[in-house]
């Protein structure tokens, strides 16, 4: 590839200030700087400002048949924005605006490069009676990539994944055409994906291999006046999960319903190495930490909801303490992030997931994170716990009940010291072992899968389905330029 010739063409589109093939600029796109996945290679980085500029960039990539990788922050646990086959990284960070907020139909139209910090900052300032769902991921990460890769957030119980919060998309296809999906394809309103054929599915779950999303409509939510965050503890995960599942089917205005084990909670304290316990359970600490967030429109409604939640918790002999009361009881050393993700205790998500979560501050971490049937919650934890302890890693488990209890997320994180090659090697081994073991549970499907997991799914998927996926990918991206080497459509 003659970089000079291509750069000259790209500079005509965005100006020389926003194109670079300098090693110091490229270096920060080679690798995600978090996971244990191998480095990739960025040849040219470019920052467009408009959809039209994205179209022109894609046309050049097609002309030269060079890979092109959509990018916002490059942080996800599958390393799916790491350029695997070189080429142009299209960094969308200049496209970071909220374009429209429709309070009546409750959605916001945003550009493809907007971050959670920008999105939340905008809503706090201009639409304080509404809120967006926010994630555990750092505020500097991308909203639209999260939606496209089935990320989820603190409204997951009422709205499902980010994909389900997505009303419509504007996309530059791998061949350069600009299309829209959803109601926005034929009206000025972006209220939903119904009732036309839902072509959003051509871009959701494809890991950026079928187009570059330049605009998306995301559902927003009213801030109801009454809210309580319960933070109940139980001795074992097995004790608390049945309670969560019962709560998930009881209505009660629950907007967020999740649990972590003590290992995860401990990692959120940002301790240093000498202050962490590999297995906090062995110290007699409770291993189930639940979070139940309920919201209501009236005081009476809220009281009734809270009373019912407390009643269900107590049926399982679990004391339904609220987050402010529970965290007040924490030893001073443990008043880290956990006490500060709730409004009532002074926090606000998104949190700096990485700074707070990088267990013992090794700077590295990766997960086996799966969508799952709720039947697997406990088994998944038991399997991953055993493997983590075998390798001397603290088991960190997290489960969120999604969309009124229709499914869930189960996730085991493994942290490591990214300055230590041996720890990286060990981490890769642990991840593989956990992945292989939890795959024995029917219903477990990893999201944001790294390349080595994708092949596993292709092997398990019905051949005809695989064939259809590959045909769609080839139809949309005949030159195979869009994020090659990633996603389930890659051959």
């Amino acid at each position: 590839m003659n970089n000079g010739e291509i750069i000259a063409e790209l500079e005509k589109i965005v100006g020389d200030r926003y194109v670079s093939d300098e090693p110091e600029i490229q270096y920060l796109y080679h690798y995600d700087f978090i996971t244990a996945e191998p480095e990739g290679k960025c040849d040219i980085a470019i920052m467009p400002e408009t959809a039209e500029e994205v179209q022109e960039i894609v046309k050049i990539a097609n002309k030269h048949k060079i890979p092109i990788v959509p990018w916002v922050s490059g942080i996800n646990f599958g390393s799916i924005a790491t350029p695997r086959k070189g080429g142009i990284v299209v960094d969308l960070r200049r496209m970071n605006h909220v374009l429209e907020v429709n309070e009546d139909d409750m959605y916001a139209v945003v550009e493809g490069g907007i971050t959670w910090a920008d999105f939340k900052g905008y809503f706090d300032k201009y639409h304080p009676d509404f809120r967006i769902g926010v994630t555990f991921s750092p505020p500097g990460t991308g909203v639209v990539p999260s939606c496209l890769a089935y990320g989820m957030w603190d409204l997951g119980m009422i709205g499902g994944t980010g994909a389900e919060f997505t009303n419509g998309l504007e996309v530059v296809l791998p061949t350069g055409e600009l299309i829209r999906a959803g109601s926005c394809s034929l009206t000025d309103y972006w209220y939903g994906r119904q009732p036309l054929p839902d072509i959003s599915g051509l871009f959701i779950g494809w890991e950026g291999t079928t187009g570059i999303v330049t605009k998306a409509a995301i559902k927003i939510w009213p801030k109801l006046p009454y809210r309580t965050d319960f933070l109940p503890f139980a001795t074992r995960v097995e004790d608390g999960v049945p309670m969560l599942l019962k709560l998930s089917k009881a209505g009660l205005g629950i907007v967020d319903l999740l649990m972590t084990n003590m290992g995860w909670a401990q990692s959120l304290q940002c301790f240093d190495q000498k202050s962490v316990a590999i297995d906090p359970v062995s110290l007699g600490l409770p291993d189930f930490i639940g979070l139940i967030t309920t919201e209501a429109y009236t005081e009476e409604q809220h009281k009734a909801q809270c009373d019912a939640i407390k009643k269900i918790c107590r049926e399982y002999n679990i004391e339904p303490l609220t987050a402010d009361v529970q965290t007040r009881n924490f030893p001073k050393k443990m008043r880290g992030v956990l006490g500060h993700i709730f409004p009532v205790t002074g926090g606000q998500m998104p949190i700096q997931f990485w700074g707070c979560w990088n267990f013992a501050r090794g700077g590295g971490g990766e997960w086996i994170g799966c969508y799952n049937t709720t039947r697997n919650i406990i088994k998944y934890y038991q399997i991953s716990r055993e493997i983590c302890l075998k390798y001397g890693k603290s088991p960190q488990y997290y489960c969120r009940i999604m969309f009124g209890g229709h499914y869930c997320v189960t996730r085991t994180n493994v942290n490591f010291n990214k300055n230590d090659p041996e720890d990286i090697r060990k981490t890769r081994q642990i991840l593989k072992e956990i992945h292989d073991a939890v795959q024995q549970l029917e219903g477990t499907i990893m999201y944001k899968p790294p390349k080595w997991v994708v092949q596993h799914y292709k092997d398990k998927t019905l051949p005809e389905t695989n064939n259809l996926i590959e045909r769609i990918k080839k139809f949309l991206d005949p030159n195979n330029i869009m994020n090659p080497g990633q996603g389930i459509g890659d051959d």
Binding site: Y18, P23, E24, I25, Y27, L28, Y29, D32, F33, I34, A45, M47, S73, G74, I75, R94, T115, A117, K120, G121, D124, K125, P128, D129, P138, P139, G140, T141, K223, P225, Y226, R227, C270, F271, D272, K274, S275, R335, G336, V337, H340, I341, F342, P343, V344, T345, G346, G347, Q348, I351, Q352, F353, W354, G355, C356, N358, R361, G363, G364, N419
Partner: protein, 416 residues
């Protein structure tokens, strides 16, 4: 207001506060790059450093990143580039040095990061990278080299003659040659913002404080030190400390944020020159007098103002409240805060050698701040740093907003 009426639960202030993080690794400050290299990998370039998270709103805080756009210009990128060169993943190049110099070292980024070592110490390795760039012959930038050469000859970076340094002194300013207290004027004030010097001297006269201007006052060394030229800056510092000793100085008042930081922090802690002299910035000195009922404000200064925190006394030295306290005591002053204030203040874009070497970035930062000030509807931006003042003056268009140094308002209020 609407929000408060309708919403019964109160949103938190922001992301996790750093003070809740236990057991951060205690490191020394002012060390070289080698000392910090094993911390750098902790950064995951998560982007938290780009934004401030306050009750007033969430907003971008990094002039370098917002101007340069590529990750390399934000703290996350700089952390990882530092890691890359210290672990031989990348080579030192002119371009790498250039990236590190395109930063005013305002440290707004470090305030946001919640990884304790980065929060507390990233400023140290940003400076250590500049120091290393100089050792490699890749720094400072040509314009910075030019002014450094002039500091060597005429003891100021403004291409002015040393003999003209005290031209601002008028006959009505009373000095006491026996005074143990010196007013260290600084280069920017001496040559570019002389009104600050006159106001400061008049304030001291009004308060009947015995003081003197040093017979020989040289550049404090800040513009040399901040561009990584540690050895040259240290030589300047040694000369100054000898002068202080020879003149029997026990206390120094500064009106320049850069001089204050350099004399108080850099001389003893980086250069090991423990001069034992009490260093006070003018607002600190005035506040002390106010608290002792030794200041009387005679005049009403009717004005809506907003206060701009200079990075070198604010984030670098923790002086946020004294200037505000002084302002609040001046009759007729109505202080209207900008959303980005105190630890999260947006830098004016003049420090760290940026104004001399990277004009576009410098002007971008200044204009962003001026717009923010205008949004408060204040009549004037007030600061207590001649470099900030000079930067605002250079960038304010058509009198869209006024700008003053705090000394001018104090002097107006104090004059009988």
């Amino acid at each position: 207001m609407v929000k408060e009426e309708k919403i019964k639960f109160v949103d938190g202030k922001g992301i996790t506060r750093i003070e809740t993080v236990p057991d951060q690794q205690k490191l020394d400050r002012h060390k070289d790059l080698e000392y910090y290299k094993d911390i750098l990998y902790q950064c995951g370039k998560c982007g938290t450093c780009r934004t401030g998270y306050q009750e007033e709103g969430w907003f971008r805080v990094c002039p370098s990143g917002e101007f340069g756009k590529f990750e390399a210009y934000y703290l996350g990128g700089k952390n990882l580039l530092s890691w890359a060169v210290t672990s031989n993943r990348l080579d030192w190049t002119e371009n790498l040095a250039n990236i590190f110099y395109q930063c005013s070292v305002c440290l707004a980024c470090t305030q946001q990061c919640q990884i304790p070592e980065i929060h507390y110490y990233a400023g140290e390795w940003l400076m250590a990278m500049r120091e290393k760039a100089v050792q490699k012959g890749l720094g400072p930038m040509p314009e910075q080299k030019q002014y450094t050469d002039h500091v060597g000859k005429e003891f100021n970076p403004y291409m002015e003659k040393h003999k003209d340094r005290t031209n601002w002194i008028t006959s009505n300013i009373k000095q006491s040659q026996d005074a143990k207290l010196a007013y260290f004027v600084g280069c920017t004030t001496s040559y570019r913002e002389q009104k600050i010097a006159i106001n400061t001297a008049e304030i001291l006269n009004s308060l009947q404080v015995d003081f003197k201007i040093l017979k020989e006052e040289y550049c404090c060394g800040s513009p040399v030190y901040m561009t990584g030229q540690t050895e040259k800056a240290k030589q300047i510092a040694e000369t100054n400390v000898n002068i202080f000793k020879n003149e029997g100085i026990e206390k120094i008042i500064t009106s320049c944020a850069g001089c204050y930081r350099t004399l108080k922090e850099t001389y003893p802690k980086k250069f090991g020159l423990d001069h034992g002299i009490e260093i006070l910035h003018l607002p600190e000195f005035i506040l002390e007098k106010l608290n002792n009922n030794e200041v009387k404000f005679n005049n009403n200064v009717n004005m809506n103002i907003t206060y701009h925190d200079p990075c070198h006394i604010g984030r670098h030295m923790g002086i946020f409240e004294p200037p505000r306290e002084v302002l609040k005591n001046i009759p007729g002053i109505n202080l209207m805060e900008m959303p980005r204030n105190k630890q999260n203040a947006w830098c004016c874009g003049s420090g760290g050698g940026v104004r001399s070497a990277f004009k576009d970035l410098s002007n971008f930062a200044a204009n962003e701040r001026i717009e923010e000030a205008k949004e408060t509807t204040a009549e004037a931006i007030v600061s207590c740093c001649p470099f900030c003042l000079n930067q605002f003056k250079a960038n304010i268009k058509d009198g869209e907003i006024k700008t003053f140094d705090l000394s001018e308002l104090i002097n107006k209020a104090i004059k009988s």
